[in-house]
Symmetry: C2
Subunit: 187 residues, 2 copies
Amino acid sequence: MKTVREEILDATIHVFNKKGMKFTMDDVAKELGMSKKTIYTVFADKQELVYDMVDYCFDSIKESEARVMRNAGLTTLEKIQGIMGVLPDGYKDIDFSQLYILKDKYPRIYSRVEERLESGWDSTMELFQRGMDEGVIRRVDKAIVKVMFEATLEQFFRRDVLVKNNISYSDALAEVVDIICNGIKGA
Amino acid sequence: MKTVREEILDATIHVFNKKGMKFTMDDVAKELGMSKKTIYTVFADKQELVYDMVDYCFDSIKESEARVMRNAGLTTLEKIQGIMGVLPDGYKDIDFSQLYILKDKYPRIYSRVEERLESGWDSTMELFQRGMDEGVIRRVDKAIVKVMFEATLEQFFRRDVLVKNNISYSDALAEVVDIICNGIKGA
DNA sequence: AAGAAACTGATTTAATCAAATTAGTTTCCA
DNA sequence: TGGAAACTAATTTGATTAAATCAGTTTCTT
């Protein structure tokens, strides 16, 4: 059973993805068939709502991630592959490029997004390090791998490359993870 | 000996990189120690100047590229590696993200940039195809490799990732080409 | 022939202010 | 308790116009 809080957050994600950051509180209320009054009993203001929406999304990524990390049956390389596969599943929920526009208006939310985008890579970075120590992946610059991956995903969302080339998102993602993992694998 | 035309184009690149698309004709004239009058004897208007500047840059990429293609001593994979190395050398000359802002004001130049960015991949795409036919690289989606590479370079220029991580552009480029080439290499 | 500088019409930018929208609150009602 | 709708103060949007900038031309000079 979903809590009221979660219902509101889900609705917020929905209208956010439809209208970007200029969604209104009325939009959320209408989406829910709920009065604004009720929303305001749960969230103090719009800022808090968006802030919590961000955390809500990242938490779900983190959870899938933890599941991969915890799986003892996987090798380090398989874990890297697994995590790179779930990471963007979370990105799918929200159009983060929209969130970047908040820089001026909601600096607190903006820096929260950056913070979580950054810390979202913590486990992956650790895995890279472990892989290099174990010798299963080559000594590469972790920051570069990160940029490659993030930049590519960003393009998938922003431009219409996938539509134009008639490639599904999951196929594209699998291919990218595959190329990167093979590219960093020890010789 | 450089022609007047080339001198003007070089100066244009210079001021363009300093001030973006809002460089003025006076800027170019001052940079050259030349009167605007003289510039206008060579180029009909600003639009033509920028248009030719774009071609000028891409032509120099194409030239280095042809040199690699023509080198019979290289294997297909080495050629791919070589071409991916020179392609961005040309990007270094110009901040193409600036050019993308022209969409509305100079649609003719904008579409020229797109056209040449696109056709700049022609030889690389052919090489990918040849490599797959020869079996030296895996069957990958060429469009995805292209997105990965382009997106990554774009980030190198746009964000300050390289500065922040204290990596030189050429080291970063070499690493990216390396990862991609290893990532697509046949097993 | 080419630079320096002044000039003009067109475009860009900036400032201003009115109109519309919206966050958050309150009132009334089921 | 919670929805519907009205309300207010604040913000955002949009239109208008004045000021500044700039592309392209002309004049005068060496």
